[in-house]
């Protein structure tokens, strides 16, 4: 790579190793001042790693970084911040117990210990910034009660409140609605207009194409190349990321003509935190029913609700596979043939510190099939885990690793493999491809379609409208805890669904 004198940031032969795996190997490229620089690659390609090195979360094992031609070596984000580098993380840096406002207030360039925390002018400035970027944030709600989308906005807002020159965004749009993404992308362009340098880590090629000036592509820890955005189209980007040609075909659609209902919510009403929920829908055999909606509008309640895991007090009736859910209780519901991909797989789906094969029986650990002579039959569990690892092409193909050691896409593959292993009649998939790379997305989508074709009922909760449009037979829009619109596949319109999500009545 050429060394350029106007480069704001230069990476010179950066290398980073975890154990004996190179997460980054011999990476050299430059980022120019006042550009939008996209860094793309599949999960585990090393694009987040290199940015974490720049931000001082990791230290490089080899190579050097120059910021404004000055050699730097950051050993913590505190060092990076002195060079006006800020980062929005993929995993939010928010305290769940504190309110949105308290979390934003923590960001402060001076960090004076003895000042009052709630300064009026500071709060006003934060709220003005939020307004400027059209972020609608419930300031006094603890973060743990907010949806992931809102949390992300808070996270982005924190960065915007600091006067940073270099802004790193790690997959910022993964949880936003199309409308919100639109706005965010416009804001990124606005930031560029104001002279900032924006680094965008993503695997959404559409966004890259729309706003990026320069694109750097990573594959398997190595640099593929850096290109002006005008030189590549989406297909070429994808091929360079994956290392082989990629096709973007849509699902060949065939509605399964089975009218029988596997999941039925009849006038289900309940109130939580003074918010009313009203759910009314049927899931048929052989259909993929999409649930669209802005994050935090009630879709996050669906799984705990259907599985009765929090014992909500509701009126109305839920019927799962011809059984009344109320009488089942959480254990009873879990024993039914339901596969669940929870929205936050690390928190709700697995025990990240346990081995992969131990996680493979989680949620099903009471099934007699795992036992022999009254104890868990680990040999059998390992064998079956291995067979599913092979089938789902989990990388690294080692069932003895800690769950934590896998990349996001592979973690999700393990969860999907586990849930599908028991041949469920109903599959509830919440944001199944969030933070997952292209290869894994294809695999997960394929599995959902196979399930649909086999006549299972699939409930797909997603904030990715593209995903919903690609897979669903019907899309229901949820807003303020209520189902407000039904869209049939033949009449899908991205615009109309987007408007419906925002509550804009035509």
């Amino acid at each position: 790579m050429e060394t350029n004198s106007n480069a704001e940031i230069q990476f010179l032969n950066i290398g980073k190793r975890f154990g004996n795996v190179w997460a980054n190997r011999d990476i050299s490229f430059s980022i120019h001042r006042n550009t939008i620089h996209a860094i793309i690659g599949e999960n585990g390609a090393g694009k987040s790693t290199i940015m974490k090195i720049l931000f001082g979360i990791y230290t490089a094992d080899a190579g050097a970084i120059k910021v404004n031609s000055e050699d730097v070596r950051f050993s913590s984000p505190i060092d990076a911040m002195k060079f006006k580098i800020g980062m929005v993380h993929q995993h939010f840096m928010l305290s769940p117990a504190h309110t949105a406002l308290e979390n934003v207030l923590l960001v402060d360039p001076k960090q004076n210990a003895f000042e009052l925390y709630f300064k009026k002018e500071k709060i006003e400035k934060i709220k003005a910034t939020a307004k400027l970027y059209k972020f609608d944030i419930p300031w006094d709600t603890p973060v743990k009660d907010l949806g992931v989308g809102v949390q992300q906005k808070i996270e982005i807002l924190k960065l915007l409140c600091l006067d940073n020159q270099i802004l790193i965004f790690d997959e910022p749009t993964a949880v936003l609605t199309p409308h919100e993404i639109d706005e965010l992308l416009n804001q990124l362009l606005e930031l560029k207009k104001q002279g900032k340098t924006v680094i965008l880590i993503t695997h959404k090629l559409k966004e890259v194409k729309r706003i990026a000036d320069t694109i750097t592509i990573f594959r398997k820890g190595q640099l593929v190349g850096t290109y002006p955005a005008t030189e590549l189209d989406e297909k070429e980007m994808a091929s360079k990321m994956v290392g082989k040609p990629v096709s973007f075909e849509k699902r060949s659609f065939e509605k399964y003509p089975d009218p029988s209902v596997v999941l039925d919510l009849e006038n289900v009403k309940f109130t939580e935190n003074n918010k009313e929920y009203l759910l009314n829908f049927k899931l048929h055999r052989g259909e993929i029913l999409g649930i669209a909606g802005i994050e935090g509008h009630g879709q996050e309640k669906l799984i705990p609700f259907i599985l009765n895991s929090k014992r909500f007090n509701y009126s109305g009736k839920i019927t799962i596979l011809d059984k009344d859910a109320k009488s089942l209780g959480p254990y009873g519901a879990r024993d039914l043939a339901i596969g669940v991909f929870p929205e936050d797989r690390l928190r709700l789906g697995v025990l990240p510190d346990l081995k992969a094969f131990q996680n493979f029986i989680l949620g099903y650990q009471r099934k007699p099939k795992w036992f022999s002579k009254g104890t868990l039959d680990w040999k059998k569990i390992k064998n079956l885990t291995q067979s599913m690892f092979d089938k789902f092409k989990v990388e690294p193909n080692n069932i003895n690793l800690d769950f934590n050691a896998f990349s996001g896409g592979n973690q999700q593959k393990i969860v999907v493999a586990r849930e599908l292993f028991h041949d469920p009649e109903i599959i509830i998939a919440a944001h199944p491809t969030r933070g997952v790379d292209i290869g894994a997305i294809e695999l997960i989508h394929e599995q959902l379609i196979i399930a649909q074709e086999k006549g299972k009922g699939v409930l797909l909760i997603s904030s990715e409208l593209d995903e919903l449009l690609k897979l669903s037979d019907r899309i229901l829009v949820i807003r303020n805890g209520k189902i407000i619109g039904e869209h049939i596949r033949s009449g899908f319109s991205e615009k109309e669904i987007g408007r419906c999500m925002l509550g804009v009545v035509l």
Binding site: P77, I78, M81, L94, A97, H98, F114, L116
Partner: protein
Amino acid sequence: MGEIDIFSLSFILSALRVSTPLIFAAQAGLLSEKSGVVQIGLEGFMLAGAFSGAVFAHLTHSSYIGFTLAFVCGALASLLFSLLVVRLKTDAIVAGTGFNFLMMGLIPFLTKFIFNSTGSTPAIPLEQRLSYEVTVFAIAIVVGIYFLISKTRWGYWIQFAGEYPDGLTACGVSVERVRWVSVLLCGGLAALGGASLSLFLSSAYSPLMTGGRGFIALSALILGKWKPVPTLVGCFVFGIFDALQIRLQGVPINGVIIPVQWIQILPYVLTIILLAGFFGRSQAPAFLGKR
């Protein structure tokens, strides 16, 4: 039959007196635990404070100087604890327990060395004993800590260090430094609790005089759900039962004299009952004790 009127002034004063060491120690524990450092070493800090307070009061003939130097000694002792737990990331429970044992052993060694006695320090003259100003000071500390924790930026650093340290780091604040300072103040404050035992509740240091008060303070902290004012209330509850226990000793109830030992266990039994009943671990700082 002796009268036990729990609304009498003398009973209230007595309850306030015995609450005082607990108030210091519980607020000390609050600072440490809010910042994410499990504080099982309160007992040790209290012992250090009780001892150093009595020694310096004796040497300088001023209880005020003794009281102040107890804070300094407690804070200095906390450096060892912080080195182990904050810097070297030792398990805080193990380090705290070890720290308590260290103080139990170190103090008799020092009394032998300084006073050639078997454990107690020489008593200070009665007129030098501290009075209820210590209690007032303790309550002022509670107000101060409430203000610090919930109103100042520093307080929010402490909260975030306990709730989500990575978020604090991402904002450019060193979690480790926040914890060092919290534990330093914790050591000093808990030592003041100890010094109020040896200079206010009595007039000398006697071996193991804290009698588990460090742990009772910890219980008050848990009962108070890691909040300064409810923790103060928790300390009063234990103080009232302690005062009651003192009053009940040797007093026949319906003509039966209950053995002293049975009455003395009252505060401890209460600790167990209250903790079993109200134990709200979910209220604890999310990252308390995680490394």
